[in-house]
């Protein structure tokens, strides 16, 4: 390692206090400076923070935005989510690759540009989209893809690609992004006017335990999708003895097809920061962390300025709004490309400067979380709800929605519909109504996202969006009748295979085996018994996996099988006994011929 680079790496470590728990920030900064975290850099980092090279390597190789091998000065990450794929991903990918003269995953020989793909970047309402370093480009076409490459070759400055800015705060000088909000329906919780500081003053009129009671009365449940009662989580943390507690905002929105937190972060930042502060007051915490997914890095300077603004106004910092003894500060922890970090214990691992492996439970985070302290992890939307509940009262909030699921839900609707975007709707709304609102026609199936990730067909269109029926973290993806449901399931399996942390056997190995089975059936060599094998394997993975990823990953497969019923979509046929239908003799012979370099005259 050159003296200069070693020096710069050491300086970066120093900037983060040579703190082992800030390894994420250090690795991200080194990656941005040098285009990789080389083994030499790992050694330098390990020395500075007092660990071993293999520990740094373990972290770097976990996150997809970090790399050991050098990447281009500009990295184009084309979103390969299923919605982008439906909107022309393949053509755009081919056009860009051809223009660059490389294939997907490669870097141009001059080391300037890397082209790669990445799972959902939270832009399904304006797909196909891509990240160019941290700049978002949307509504791509092959021609625009080619032009983008030509422009980049000229200036290598992603920011110059933004010639037209989106609406709302996307126009803000610290955002300046072409992203559009696409807010199609404004509800009373998130998109009503919000005056900073007012909800905080209301909270201060109450004792911390009464704030929790207020949240309890509102029946607020976690908006990430699992629907855990927020007040219960807070109560557990507040009642766990300890000198320090933490409030973490989960802004690692990675569920394919979900983009509502993107809009909330852009338009409701004050409401979110205030919600976190109220949470801090309620549970007795002085430190908040926003875990911001790497894909939303373009929002970081703006959010940082909002935090600084609130510090100046006295809404954050020491003795907030004159309340003696209540101090609260917020820092932003950037992610580095790992869907699993949306799982709260994995998110905590990541904040601690570790691989994003989920932790064994118990203990649960409110008992023992970040740095082994009581920690509450709440979704962006949940924390925004908190501010509104304090403003308008628990009764008001509980009067909206359905009996067991109060309030509104911000949904991200995308796919085969005319009006993709963000909809704030009262809980209890039916899928049929959503289809009408989003102007979707010829609907074949819907994917209701969130930890349950159900695929439902025509028969269940009267299902209600609420925790007792169709629970969702916010993603609704609409597929028209012509889409192949098993192909959709295979697409999601590929995603989960890439994003599995690999810790437990059922998820790590089972998903690959399940994908191979699904692929066998799609390619026309399946037999009826394969459908049973798919069901058995899916149930095994769901029952035996350690965390929510594995426990939910096979659901699209089960959903597709359920929609098919016994008809199985004509995919499988009875085979002669004793033959392996997936074995293609002529292909095997061709493979062998290629290897030996001569042809057989018998085939």
């Amino acid at each position: 390692m050159k003296q200069g680079t070693a020096h710069i790496t050491a300086n970066i470590c120093n900037k983060f206090g040579n703190d082992r728990t800030r390894l994420m920030d250090i690795a991200i900064a080194v990656q941005e400076r040098f285009g990789c975290v080389s083994h030499e850099a790992m050694e330098e980092i390990a020395r500075a923070v007092g660990t071993q090279r293999v520990e740094v390597e373990s972290l770097v190789t976990f996150y997809s935005f970090l790399s050991v091998k050098p990447q281009g000065k500009v990295v184009i990450r084309l979103c390969s989510d299923i919605v982008d794929w439906m909107k022309g991903y393949s053509e755009v990918a081919e056009a860009m690759a051809r223009e660059l003269g490389i294939t997907m995953g490669e870097t141009t020989p001059d080391g300037a540009i890397t082209l790669t793909d990445t799972p959902c970047i939270g832009m399904s309402d304006q797909a196909p989209a891509a990240l160019v370093n941290s700049v978002v480009v949307t509504h791509l076409t092959p021609e625009r893809g080619r032009q983008l490459v030509r422009d980049l070759r000229r200036h290598l400055d992603p920011q110059q690609l933004v010639t037209m800015v989106g609406n709302g705060n996307n126009e803000h000088p610290l955002v300046r992004s072409m992203v559009r909000n696409n807010i199609r329906m404004r509800g009373p919780v998130h998109f009503a006017p919000f005056e900073p500081g007012k909800a905080l003053l209301k909270a201060f009129e109450l004792a911390p335990s009464d704030v929790i009671s207020e949240i309890k009365e509102s029946k607020l449940r976690g908006r990430g999708g699992a629907g855990f009662p927020t007040a219960l989580k807070w109560e557990l943390a507040a009642n766990t003895p300890g000198e320090k507690r933490y409030v973490i905002c989960n802004a690692d929105e990675g569920e394919p097809g979900t983009f509502k937190d993107r809009v909330l972060l852009t338009e409701c930042a004050e409401q979110l920061l205030e919600g976190m502060t109220i949470a801090g007051y309620a549970v007795g915490s002085d430190t908040g962390i926003i875990y911001l997914r790497a894909e939303y890095r373009y929002l970081m300077p703006y959010l940082q300025s909002k935090i600084e603004g609130r510090l100046k106004q006295g809404f954050l910092g020491r003795g907030i709004l004159g309340k003696k003894g209540f101090n609260f500060d917020i820092r932003i922890q950037l992610g580095a490309g790992a869907y699993i970090c949306g799982e709260e214990t994995a998110l905590i691992s990541s904040c601690e400067g570790l691989r994003g492996d989920p932790k064994n439970r118990p203990p649960f985070p409110p008992q023992e979380g970040y740095l082994k302290r009581p920690t509450i992890v709440n979704n962006v939307e949940t924390l925004c709800c908190v501010s509104r509940i304090l403003l308008e009262g628990a009764k008001w909030f509980a009067s909206i929605g359905s009996a067991n699921t109060t309030g509104t839900k911000v949904l991200s609707i995308s796919g085969d519909c005319r009006k993709p975007g963000v909809y704030e709707v009262p809980f209890g709304i039916t899928t049929r109504e959503l289809i009408e609102l989003s102007e979707a026609e010829n609907v074949g199936s819907l994917l209701i996202g969130g930890p349950c990730r159900q695929m439902i067909g025509q028969v269940r269109l009267d299902g209600q969006i609420c925790y007792d029926d169709l629970a969702t973290g916010g993603a609704i993806i609409i597929f028209n009748g012509a889409r192949n449901k098993l192909e959709i399931a295979e697409h999601y399996l590929d995603f989960f295979i890439d994003e599995s942390c690999g810790h437990c056997t059922p998820c790590r190995v089972g998903l690959t085996l399940l994908k191979n089975l699904v692929h066998k059936v799609i390619s026309g060599t399946g037999e009826p018994a394969d459908l049973d094998r798919m069901r058995d394997l899916s149930n095994f993975i769901i029952n035996m996996s350690r965390c929510g990823l594995g426990q939910a990953a096979p659901n699209p497969v089960l959903g597709a099988l359920e929609i098919f019923g016994d008809a199985s979509g004509g995919f499988v046929a009875e085979r002669k006994p004793g033959l392996l239908p997936e074995f293609d003799l002529s292909k095997a012979v061709i493979d062998a011929e290629l290897r030996v370099g001569r042809q057989s005259k018998y085939v």
Binding site: Q52, N360, I497, C501, G502, P506, T512, L513, M544
Partner: protein, 235 residues
């Protein structure tokens, strides 16, 4: 130490508060199959072989602590099938050729397969391409046989006071990695506990293979688990 009681397949078991179900079962002479869990190492909870049903919910017995009055199911057809599936999966995930392996007869994965009556895995082999690191004078790493149990990672830290191993990558591409360009560049000693805790033939001492004649190897004598619950594992 407060004592609590719960049942495993209907048998009442006494345990110490905070103890894992696995440890409590061991003490009571009830064998729950396991692979990554090892003596006093902090349970890794990764293989999931020790999955049991606790009040109807599947939990890893190595991680889940005992609960007063809990109903634990261990030997049920469903769990037996699930455990057998995991062992199958570990076989097809790597490249395990028992007939050539120095660990044969001492291998816990192989012994579990025998205990579960697995002759041939029911899943298709993935045949991954994996590396072998022969650089160290006395120990070699064969990644073909590594089942990612994490024993060596932790033993190196907690028992050897080193940091020789860690995992890199994620998902199906997750691998064991050594702290350096090769095993020879690390401070691993042949006498390290990290080497001896490997349940399979992934970390192997050189020049001592096949010393024990077939028939006298550890699991030739008695099936795995027999030391905890004698006479139950013979199939």
């Amino acid at each position: 130490m407060s004592r609590i009681s719960f049942t495993i397949d209907g048998v009442t078991v006494q345990a110490i508060k905070g103890q894992s179900i696995l440890k409590a079962a061991d003490a009571a002479g009830i064998y729950i199959p396991r692979l990554c869990a090892y003596r006093d190492l902090v349970p890794h909870g990764s293989c999931r072989v020790c999955s049991v049903k606790v009040n109807g919910r599947i939990q890893a017995a190595c991680v889940q602590t005992v609960i007063e009055g809990a109903v634990v199911e261990n030997n049920t057809p469903e769990l037996e099938e699930y455990r057998s599936n995991i062992i199958d999966m570990l076989f097809v995930e790597g490249n395990h050729f028992c007939m050539f392996c120095e660990k044969s007869g001492f291998c816990e994965l192989q012994a579990l397969a025998y205990r579960f009556g697995i002759a041939v895995p029911k899943y298709q082999f993935l045949y991954p391409k994996r590396e072998i690191d022969m650089s160290h004078p006395h120990v070699y790493v064969d990644h073909n046989r590594c089942i990612l149990c994490g024993r060596c990672v932790q033993a190196s830290q907690s028992m050897d006071s080193k940091n020789v191993f860690q995992f890199i990558g994620r998902g199906i591409r997750k691998r064991l990695q050594v702290n350096g360009d090769s095993l020879a560049k690390t401070d691993l000693k042949v006498t390290d506990e990290a080497v001896s805790v490997c349940p399979v033939g992934a970390l192997v001492r050189k020049r001592v293979g096949y010393e024990t004649p077939v028939g006298l190897r550890r699991y030739d004598e008695a099936p795995i688990g027999d030391d905890i619950e004698p006479g139950k594992g013979d199939r």
